[in-house]
C-alpha cells in the first residue's frame, strides 16, 4: 500500500482540531518532523502540528513560503475552492454543516420530503413485483 498523500509545499490540508477546526490550509513550509508552517487566505501564517492536520488530495504549485498575494493567486489559479466543494469529502462536510444548522421547520419539511420519496420508491417496487409475479 504505497502512500498517495504527501506532506509537501503546496499540499492542502484540513484542520481537524483546535481553534481553526474545519478550515482548509496550505502547507507553506516544513519546520521539523512534527510541525508545518501553514497559511490560509483569512489567517496569519503560523505553525501547526501535523496531528492537527488531515492531508487532502489537492496540491497547488507554489514556491517555499510565498507572500499572501502570490498564495491567494495560486489558490485561485488552481481553483481549490471548487475542487474541494465538488469532491465527495467536501460535499459530505457541506451536508453535515447544513444538517447541523437546520431549524425545526426545516426538519419538518425534510420529513415530508422523505415520506414522499419513500412513497414513490415503494410504488415503483410494487410495480416491479407485479411484473415478476405475473
Amino acid at each position: 500500500m504505497p502512500f498517495k498523500r504527501y506532506v509537501e509545499i503546496g499540499r492542502i490540508a484540513l484542520v481537524n482540531y483546535g481553534k481553526d477546526y474545519g478550515k482548509l490550509v496550505v502547507i507553506v513550509d516544513v519546520i521539523d518532523q512534527n510541525r508545518a508552517l501553514v497559511d490560509a487566505p483569512d489567517m496569519v501564517r503560523g505553525q501547526m502540528n501535523f496531528k492537527r492536520l488531515t492531508l487532502t488530495d489537492i496540491k497547488i504549485d507554489i514556491k517555499r513560503v510565498p507572500n499572501k498575494k502570490t498564495l491567494i493567486a495560486a489558490l485561485e489559479a488552481a481553483d481549490v475552492k471548487n475542487k474541494w466543494e465538488s469532491s465527495s469529502w467536501g460535499r459530505k462536510l457541506i451536508v453535515q454543516k447544513k444538517r447541523a444548522s437546520l431549524n425545526d421547520f426545516d426538519r419538518f419539511k425534510i420529513m415530508l420530503a422523505k415520506i414522499k420519496k419513500a412513497g414513490v420508491v415503494r410504488q415503483e417496487l410494487a410495480k416491479l413485483k407485479k411484473e415478476t409475479t405475473a
Binding site: 509545499i9 519546520i31 503560523g46
Partner: protein
Amino acid sequence: MSYKFHQFQVVGRGLPTESDEHPKIYRMKLWATNEVRAKSKFWYFLRKLKKVKKSNGQMLAINEIFEKNPTTIKNYGIWLRYQSRTGYHNMYKEYRDTTLNGGIEQMYTEMASRHRVRHHCIQVIKTATIPAKLCKRESTKQFHNSKIKFPLVFKKVRPPTRKLKTTYKASRPNLFV
C-alpha cells in the same frame, strides 16, 4: 502559541557612590518565566562578572523582547552551559523554529529529556540565527530542502474537541493514513 520562557532585556548598574559618580551600566538579555525571575537572574549573572550586588545596585529597565518575524522559519543555534551530576559542561544545540522563545523552550525540554537536566541548572551563553549553510546538525539540515516531501505514516483519529473524548470505543481504530 504561549511560551513558558520569555526573553527579557534587563538593564542595571551599581549605585553611584562618592568615588564613582557615574557607574557603568550593564545590559543583559536573558530568558525567564516572568519579570521577577528575570531581575533575579540578572543580579545572579552580574555578581559573577562584576563586584556588584542587588543591595548596592539599581535596576534601570526591564523590557520583554518579542519576536520580530514569527511567521518565518529560522534555524537557531544555542550555546549553553549546564550542570550534570558530575560537573559543568558546555553544549551547542540547533533548533528549527519560528521564534527564538520557541527554540529556547525546545532546548529546555530536550535537555530535560535527554540529559535529565532541570532548567535551573542551564545557563544560556549565546543564541544566534544560523543561515542554512552553516548548520552543523544533521537533524536540522535534513529539513533544508525546498522540495521536501514525506508521507504521514501514522494517522491517529482524534475527537475534534476534548469534550467528545470517550474511554471506550466500539471498534478498533484504523491507523493507515
